[in-house]
Amino acid sequence: MRVNGVAHPAPVDPRRLLSDHLRHDLGLTGTHVGCEHGVCGCCTVLLDGAPVRSCLMLAVQAEGHDVTTIEGLAADGAPLHPVQQAFHECHGLQCGFCTPGFVMSVVGILAQHPNPTADQVAEGIAGNLCRCTGYASIRRAVTRAAELSKK
């Protein structure tokens, strides 16, 4: 499968979850694991461009697909992706644990709705838990990200 544009050999153990494969077999620890039952969203990655919960996929299922993780949004040393930049400007993260999941979800939201209404913003981030921020700054970050993405 391809992860962040790089081809990797298919995972071997069918019971290996995609989240663990990314983190521990490929060393891409930016994707986090918060609950392993699909509720918290910390593990969200893009599968062929659409946000999915990597804790709810077997790694073997990603074979033949394109996976994008948080590490794939901006190359080392390159400027932050507009969504990442927006989170920074709006103080949309504190401990940073839920952040990669949120960022990938927001990339997905903006792909679907480049000019999201307040409702679409609310709906779009409704599936990710954050315990630190109280969400207001994240809502602002989504709107800011939409602005930055247009430039």
Binding site: R23, C40, C95, L129, A136
Partner: protein
């Protein structure tokens, strides 16, 4: 020093790394570590008849399986972290239980294997034979002592404490009006997004133990491991790397894994790691919030409180590792910002067959606030007065500081409020709240609080200017999202006249700074912040002296600006900090970086030894700050809500916060802390519940059933602030970490009570609870 950075909304230096997915959380660290799983008790109270690990040990891929019998410290009780003379019957658990288990989740067996999957496979074939024993779960049933949690603790009472300021009996008797109230709080949980994790390695070659731990106090863990394993502290390193939220559960120390993982690493000669899973977290990690209160208040026709008598039970859980800090805090904080001329408070800390309790954001203050605020609301209702007016009549006034409450505080001192302006908080909250929205089933809620912050004993900081001119700083306490690296950098940058971007801060790494207490109780800015100012101030002082020698001026004529030390008003007469850093370390051998300037044959300002007596090399300093006592933050929250009369769904129409945390170092960070705190308060008031059944089983140990709010459940919050600087510390700051959560329950209870016209005396609430309360009984 400049004040360029203090008070500014400086964007965080932590963000880039975290946003790119380059954070380093404890489970991110593998390095060939073996993986492990804890087998835990499925029963709330049981005798262990036998433990059979033969099948587990025999499984391919399993490296070791430990029971208490396999541990040199297997019969040692874990420490009581905060002893207290009134904790007459404190009890702690052992690392692994071998005789009796007293709560679901208590650790029994530790399995180490080549992979997590194999460890889980092996854990499944561990056979433990239990004989179930009777269970007490609610604090009330524990206090009735139908069954004992500990055979040698009569009445299940770990501690009893009574404090009185004034003469409560007499003043109640003579009060024109008296009222009895009853309040009940169920357990709640901090539930950070990152569950706990530990990674350890023992290096035989270096005789050194290295531990990564998602903890709020690496220095304490280091001390404990050094004692347990008989190692010098300098041979034990504990690092809290990035930590995904703490909120209190991670200040509980010496969870069994924190000892077992290092032990296994030492025994097996390979790194070992342990990562909790979410379901496990629910019963394995300390909880809080369980209390039952009986209150009697005496008041006059003006609504002035004359006497307050509070008698409460605190749910300790099965053990008391954290001592009685929580009920002490509740007892101390009930009076809040109000004058209570006669106050008596008694508490009993009772054992139950549930997870032990220790602080979760607010740490006993939400209960105290709820009790006082709901009592004032009851007074208002009885007298037909406005709730805000009753508060106004009872508030401590701005000219009454320092104000002694008459009871003891969690740091061993008495409670003395140092500064504040409570009437201004109330006034501003009401102004910002504005007019009531139209419509039916709308209610207004109001809640004020004070918060003791910045407890000691101390924190320290090390600040150093490198020969490159960059500044590095370190303190013992770790961050869990509170932007320490940014905020301490602001303080240091101001002292040294440099840019925040040029200050690199490390916290929570005993390799970099080995002394300190921890991050908890809204104390970081007060203690570590002031320590940073002290250390950086010492560096600035030293820089001025070295520069004064070389520039031949008086140190008092020098200032630090733009990375230089220069004569005030004469920017052309100065030296870069980098150059001073070089000169601060006289060398024999230059090693580049400008160090030739400090070698033997360069010009010297004065004769004699190059390091004078008492002088140390390097442009660095270590400083400490030890507060004389807590400094008291305060605030007022107000809200309008609507409750749907058919579905009992809660809609928060407007929520305003006015807070006072003294001088604010970074408003962006403080606002974030408040927004997060309020969200946890809303969660704890209307969504989250730990649903224990009569058998002590937690029925909702998953994120599907423990309902933490999503963004759709949390409204926008309006935040405003006033500043009454603390007279107790040089920076004038007060803590702010817990403020957001403290009054939320009281505010929502008050608002819902008005919206529905039914009395609310308990937490948490839910549509089901409101449906049941509104049915005629």
């Amino acid at each position: 020093m400049t004040t360029r950075w203090f008070g500014e909304r400086v964007p965080r230096v932590e963000d880039d790394r975290l946003l790119r997915g380059h954070g380093r959380f404890t489970d991110d660290i593998d390095d060939g570590a073996l993986e492990s799983v804890l087998v835990r008790s499925p029963f709330a109270h049981a005798r262990i008849l036998s433990i059979d690990v033969t099948a587990a040990r025999a499984m391919p891929g399993v490296v070791a399986v430990y029971t208490a019998a396999d541990l040199p410290f297997g019969q040692t009780d874990l420490p009581i972290l905060i002893p207290h003379p009134r904790l007459t019957h404190g009890r702690t658990q052992r690392c692994l239980a071998s005789e009796v288990v007293r709560y679901v989740g208590e650790a029994v067996v530790f399995v180490v294997a080549e992979s997590r999957s194999v460890a889980e496979d092996a854990a499944e074939v561990v056979q433990v034979d239990y004989e179930q024993l009777p269970v007490v779960i609610t604090p009330e049933s524990a206090a009735r002592a139908e069954h004992l949690v500990h055979d040698d603790v009569p009445g299940n009472v770990a501690a009893e404490m009574i404090q009185e300021a004034g003469a409560v009996e007499a003043s109640l008797a003579s009060a024109p009006r008296r009222k009895r109230l009853h309040f009940r709080f169920e357990r709640g949980a901090g539930s950070p997004m990152e569950a706990r994790a530990v990674w350890a390695r023992w290096s035989t070659a270096e005789h050194k133990l290295t531990v990564y731990d998602s903890t709020q106090s690496p220095t304490s863990i280091r001390g404990g491991l050094a004692v347990l394993f008989g190692l010098p502290e300098s041979n034990v390193e504990v690092i809290a790397p990035d930590v995904g939220g703490g909120f209190g559960p991670k200040i509980m120390l010496f969870y069994p894994d924190e000892l077992l993982v290092p032990f296994a690493a030492m025994k097996l000669g390979r790194p070992v790691k342990w990562t909790e899973d979410r379901q496990e977290h629910f019963t394995a990690v300390n909880q809080e919030r369980g209390q039952v209160h009986e209150v009697e208040v005496g008041f006059d026709e003006e609504g002035k409180v004359l006497a307050l008598d509070v008698d409460f039970i605190h749910d300790a859980g099965a053990y008391t590792p954290y001592g009685i800090i929580l009920p002490i805090i509740t007892a101390a904080q009930v009076p809040g910002p109000y004058r209570v001329p006669n106050y008596r408070v008694r508490f009993r800390d009772v054992y139950t067959n549930a997870t032990p309790t220790s602080p979760y954001r607010g740490a006993g203050r939400p209960h105290a606030c709820f009790v006082m605020e709901r009592t004032l609301d009851a007074i208002a209702a009885e007298l037909g007065l406005e709730r805000a007016e009753v508060r106004r009549r009872n508030l401590i006034q701005p000219d009454e500081f320092p104000y002694e409450v008459g009871v003891g505080w969690q740091d061993g001192n008495m409670v003395v409020y140092d500064s504040g302006n409570y009437p201004a908080l109330l006034q501003k909250a009401l102004t910002n709240l504005g007019t009531r929205p139209s419509g039916d089933h709308v209610g207004m809620g109001l809640g004020m609080y004070v918060e003791g912050t910045g407890v000691g004993p101390y924190e320290g900081a090390h600040v150093q200017v490198l020969v490159s001119g960059k500044v590095v700083a370190a303190t013992g306490i770790p961050s869990q999202g509170q932007a320490h690296a940014t905020v301490w950098a602001q303080i240091v940058a101001d002292q040294l006249g440099v840019d925040v971007a040029d200050v690199e801060v490390t916290g929570g790494d005993t390799r970099r700074f080995p002394w300190g207490v921890g991050t908890f109780a809204s104390r970081g800015a007060v203690t570590a912040g002031n320590a940073m100012a002290v250390a950086a101030g010492m560096v600035a002082e030293k820089a001025r002296h070295i520069a004064a020698d070389h520039l031949e001026v008086d140190p008092a004529d020098l200032e630090l600006v733009g990375g230089k030390v220069q004569v005030k008003g004469s920017p052309d007469r100065g030296m870069p900090l980098a150059a001073i850093a070089v000169l601060a370390n006289p060398v024999r051998y230059a090693f580049g970086g400008g160090t030739e300037a400090a070698t033997q044959f360069t010009a010297r300002p004065r004769p004699g030894p190059q390091l004078h007596e008492g002088e140390q090399p390097g442009l660095e300093a270590t400083g400490y700050y030890s507060p004389p006592g807590s400094t008291w933050a305060a605030g007022c929250h107000a809200a309008y809500v609507r409750v749907d009369p058919q579905t009992f769904r809660l809609e928060i129409l407007k929520y305003v916060v006015i807070h006072d945390c003294g001088r604010v170092i970074n408003p962006l960070v403080v606002e974030g802390q408040i927004e997060g705190g309020v969200a946890q308060g809303i969660g704890g008031a209307f969504y989250e519940r730990l649903a224990y059944d009569d058998e002590g089983q937690l029925r909702n140990a998953s994120f599907m059933e423990f309902l933490m709010p999503y963004a759709t459940e949390i409204p926008a919050i309006e935040i405003d602030h006033i500043e009454t600087p603390s007279p107790l510390n040089p920076l004038g700051v007060k803590g702010a970490g817990e403020a957001g959560v403290i009054p939320v329950g009281a505010v929502l209870a008050s608002a819902i009570e008005e919206a529905l016209g039914i009395p609310i005396t308990e937490m948490p609430l839910s549509p089901l609870k409101l449906f049941e309360l509104s049915r005629p009984s």
